[in-house]
Symmetry: C2
Subunit: 350 residues, 2 copies
Amino acid sequence: MGGMKALSYSKGVIVSQSSQQITMQDIATQSGVSLSTVSRVLNGSENVSQEKQAAVMAAVEALNYRPNVFAQGLARGASRTVGVLTQHISAPFFDAILDGVLAGLRGTGYSPLFADGLWRADREERSIQLLLDRQVDGLIVLGGATSNCFLREIAAQKPLVLVGRVVPELTHQSVLFDDFKGAYLATQHLIELGHRQIVHITGILEHEDALLRKKGYLQALEDAGIPINDNLILEGNFVEQSGVLAVEMLFNRGQLFSAIFAANDQMAYGARLALYRRGIRVPEDVSLVGYDDLVHSAYTTPPLTTIHQPAFQMGEVAANTILGLIGGEQPEIAPFKAELIVRNSTARHR
Amino acid sequence: MGGMKALSYSKGVIVSQSSQQITMQDIATQSGVSLSTVSRVLNGSENVSQEKQAAVMAAVEALNYRPNVFAQGLARGASRTVGVLTQHISAPFFDAILDGVLAGLRGTGYSPLFADGLWRADREERSIQLLLDRQVDGLIVLGGATSNCFLREIAAQKPLVLVGRVVPELTHQSVLFDDFKGAYLATQHLIELGHRQIVHITGILEHEDALLRKKGYLQALEDAGIPINDNLILEGNFVEQSGVLAVEMLFNRGQLFSAIFAANDQMAYGARLALYRRGIRVPEDVSLVGYDDLVHSAYTTPPLTTIHQPAFQMGEVAANTILGLIGGEQPEIAPFKAELIVRNSTARHR
DNA sequence: CTACTTCTTGAAAGCGCTTTCACAGAATAA
DNA sequence: TTATTCTGTGAAAGCGCTTTCAAGAAGTAG
């Protein structure tokens, strides 16, 4: 029996033509064993005789049986799914992390479920709720604006891994950047090149990372004995346009400067454009440093000096950690360090 | 009854503390009606008296009941989920489309499920199978390398929308770019500026879009009476590095040219870098045109002349179409047209 | 040869929800 | 008044799978 469900073969993938799904019962009758035995060989959960095992596998093959994940999920109470909250599906840096997460999940039997938060606490919480509703077995949250309190509660009921987000009680399950150190390195690099009037275009200062980068910048100046000039610090919002605005502002004010450290590459691109429009050369007239080392930064003119963070690996680590957490292990996350990538947008101050 | 499941309230979102899920049965007993009645009010499927309706809603509220999607999916045979196959989670242009898809799905009760194909037929088919296994109600496929035959089979059993991918029988359910026209426009633009030696860096020529763009380029030349020079046509692979390689190649061969049309922006960036390294100015010495109008292209130095495609809207349309298809409607997709965006990377030939 | 494990197996009880069925009671028609 | 149609409702039967339980077969020990 069971042969009444029409099949068609194509490139090795067999597709059931009738929308009628093939169930375990079908393969049970087809191979002459009980439902439970089929389940056992499929899950390798218990001993099953060689012959029956073979019979079942043959039937599975022949009928191209595919388990119904809903039924499995319902029966098991687990979904083999991990929720991933990103902020914006096309935010370059986060995408690189996502890539790593995908890679880390590949072949583990777990699939990712995405949702985006758009950096807004309410949307983020709604998205997380949505993921939870879909019975994810664990949750990876990239950055974001939700309250620590909310995240703590989530962590209390589900395996949770945070990426680039500091929540005091949850640091052991967080993949962290060293934003302070990175910004320090960037600024220090400019100082070593002889720059004194160093502009900093910050990120959105409500975000922890933007704040830390600013602190790194300030600390580097202080350590070099360079007085802080508030006129050189402009608040941006992490997207290109705010970089051009910042530079425009500087010119409008008649502010002198010889170098710019932008809190991310995208704003550095914007700054670059504003300088270009004014006919100011990089790095001859002004040195420029970004942050994130987006793929694109190696191809700007000139290629951008920036701070590299191993986004892909961080994603992988996040994936591995969440799997470990789901499996009941204690997480153990080695810290990632920021690294200065010197390209051609910085030069000695003349 | 039902009150024994501990709850905690936080910012309006109520989170069950015990991992014990609250089920419909809980709210049924809590509100003193039967399971079926609860289902009815939750789904609004049949008439229920005002009082019971209120009682149920109150209980739902009080216990913060959240339906179990697996149980729902199993019982309904539908998942309220649409699968989205993209090629690479961090491919800029596809991401913009994804963004549109997300926006189109938002608030419809349907959630997206992503998978990536990495432009390889085998991975793509595996990913599609994975989405199918997860019982998606419909499928949106962005580009890709799977056989037409495979896609036709999928279309036969599930609602399917193709984006940027031509399959003869399925054009009515495809969101299409006009690659030919776009490339024609780009090339024509260069010709009008007086260029004659126009390089074309193609995409991967196994891809339909790359082929069409090349055809558009050729046609524009032909229409202008400019002889085709095969030495000016180099095959790239859609990523930055292939753009630099192409230009390097040109120089190594001592090939003369005054303009470059790259089959996408990323390769144009690469070409730009190679020119920069040689000290060749854009657009004074060489004009450069890309394709896709990535966000970034407005911020390159100089800002890149390119072909714009309304990626976001296309994503939205794809989402709406798949929802319509799931609802049994006949799809009706208006064609999108490519548009030339003239920025500063092109100038009159001297 | 009996008594006690150990294997292998099928039956059956859920998992949480939707939906059909049947049945009161109310409303309408005759 | 009686016959007929609605309406609102609960019981119960699945959806396809996992897992517990119990039992027969088989192996080991005394």
